[in-house]
């Protein structure tokens, strides 16, 4: 019979390494630490917002190896070795806004701003898959994110405007952060 791997006590700390926005991090966290909390408390990147904490609101969405995922539905230990992009990683060099951020600014895509980080990461990945969405596709793209202020109309406009900025060139590659 196979050797059973060592099972640490529930309160033991696990050594986890991953990259966030291109920078390498190593943290020691208990197994139950959610990725959303690890980003905010252990790493100090508070741009990722925590809303419902059970996967419904989308505010904590980050890119894991380029794909949008809910940080509150991931254990930090489970993303060992992954390449993460948070909202902080969407800014272009010289603190210039990325195309999605620029579009949100131009189209008033935010009011209180609490949900915005999740929208920005989701749309960044969405436009990478579909750089020229129809309005309906733009709506579908943000359907998994809740906003209590805007009524969504200006967010949909922002998606379409971000696609336009991307097509105008220059800033289309924003927000990747990983190879």
């Amino acid at each position: 019979m196979t050797r059973q791997p060592e099972v640490l006590a529930p309160d033991a700390l696990h050594h986890v390494s991953f990259t966030v926005n291109g920078a390498a991090y190593e943290i020691d966290v208990p197994a139950r630490r959610l990725l959303s909390d690890a980003l905010r408390h252990d790493i100090g990147l508070t741009g990722t917002h925590v809303g419902c904490e059970h996967g419904v609101c989308g505010a904590c969405t980050v890119l894991v190896d380029g794909r949008p995922m809910r940080a509150c539905l991931l254990l930090a230990v489970s993303v060992q070795g992954a390449s993460l992009t948070t909202v902080e990683g969407l800014t272009e060099s010289g603190d210039r806004l990325g195309p999605v951020q620029q579009a949100f600014k131009e189209c008033h895509g935010l009011q209180c701003g609490f949900c915005t980080p999740g929208f920005l990461t989701t749309i960044t990945a969405g436009l990478r898959d579909n750089p020229d969405p129809t309005e309906e596709e733009a709506r579908e793209m943000v359907a998994g994110n809740l906003c209590r202020c805007t009524g969504y109309q200006n967010i949909v406009k922002s998606v379409l405007r971000a696609a336009e900025i991307g097509r105008e060139g220059g800033t289309a590659e924003a927000g990747g952060g990983e190879a």
Partner: protein, 294 residues
């Protein structure tokens, strides 16, 4: 919200994972975690140990041959949904996966995990039941396959033993002259369905309906499959026959009232959706071109 403390192991071989599961009856397997992590955070589940299989990338596959589609335990919904071969072989997979939560959830959640999570309000258990799929499971004692008909014991309860891990979902290819369809009604886009129905319709070479089967979600404690064939005795999809099928469906489901919908409303939806998906599946079964059938 914080999960209660648990031990965590990330095995690098399947045998290691099986050894931990055999040693600890309160251990739980973590794959995508899109259902499990909320249960942990809300402390509805408090396993002693989580066995994270994300360190077993050999389980991340979607393989298609003439018999059907085989989906490994780490294949994400998004991978299965995007797989063109899988779609050609069994279009109901993609049709149904598009209704599973939101793309962000489908990027992490696994199709097999959704099946063995055994939620009768979820799409994949209903689809696997309708298609007659099987699940390959492993433990330290060996491997076995479980037919979908024997897989669902109750709400959120599958017939996997605590020492077992689900390795592979096997789904048969769509039969000749057969069409599939699925639809559901939700309060909000991407929510759990108030009611959902998937259907398979098979026709003869002359286009006459031979068999009609439908699977229901959110209207029973475990996935419910009904044979509606008797409503189509004359082989046509006439309104009278669809009426008869709706009658079988509404009599056959056993929904419950909750804060989202009354039992009567869910039963009504089961009828409305039965008519809709049987009509769509029939149109695909008789479609002249293979793409139209999908």
């Amino acid at each position: 919200m914080k999960p209660a403390p648990f031990s965590y192991v990330r095995p690098s071989t399947l045998d290691e994972a099986l050894a931990v599961l055999a040693a600890d009856p309160h251990a739980k397997v973590l794959a995508g975690g899109q259902s499990l992590v909320p249960l942990l955070s809300m402390r509805l589940a408090q396993p002693s140990t989580l066995v994270d299989i994300n360190g077993l990338p050999e389980l991340a596959y979607v393989r298609t041959d003439k018999d059907g589609v085989r989906i490994g335990a780490l294949a994400r919904h998004a991978d299965v949904e995007a797989d063109v071969d899988a779609w050609r072989a069994q279009p109901l997979l993609r049709q149904a996966l598009r209704l599973v939560a939101h793309p962000t959830i489908r990027n992490r959640g696994t199709t097999l995990g959704s099946v063995v999570h055994a939620d009768a309000a979820a799409e994949m258990p209903a689809v696997v039941s309708l298609l007659g799929g099987t699940v390959l499971v492993a433990s330290v004692d060996g491997r076995r396959t479980i037919d979908a008909a024997d897989l669902f014991a109750g709400p959120l309860e599958s017939t996997l033993a605590t020492k077992e891990v689900a390795l592979e979902l096997q789904v048969p290819a769509l039969g000749a002259r057969t069409g599939s369809a699925i639809d559901e009604v939700t309060r909000r886009h991407g929510d759990y369905a108030l009611c959902g129905v998937a259907a398979l319709v098979s026709v003869s070479e002359k286009g006459a309906i031979e068999t009609v089967r439908a699977s229901y979600l959110s209207v029973s404690l475990t996935p419910l499959v009904l044979d509606l064939s008797e409503a189509f005795a004359d082989g046509t999809a006439s309104e009278a026959n669809l009426d008869a099928a709706v009658e079988i469906a509404t009599a056959g489901v056993d929904p419950e009232t909750d804060i989202h919908a009354t039992a009567d409303y869910r039963r009504h939806l089961a009828g409305v959706l039965t008519r809709r998906v049987v009509r769509d599946a029939y149109a695909r079964a008789v479609a002249p071109d293979p793409e139209g059938a999908r």
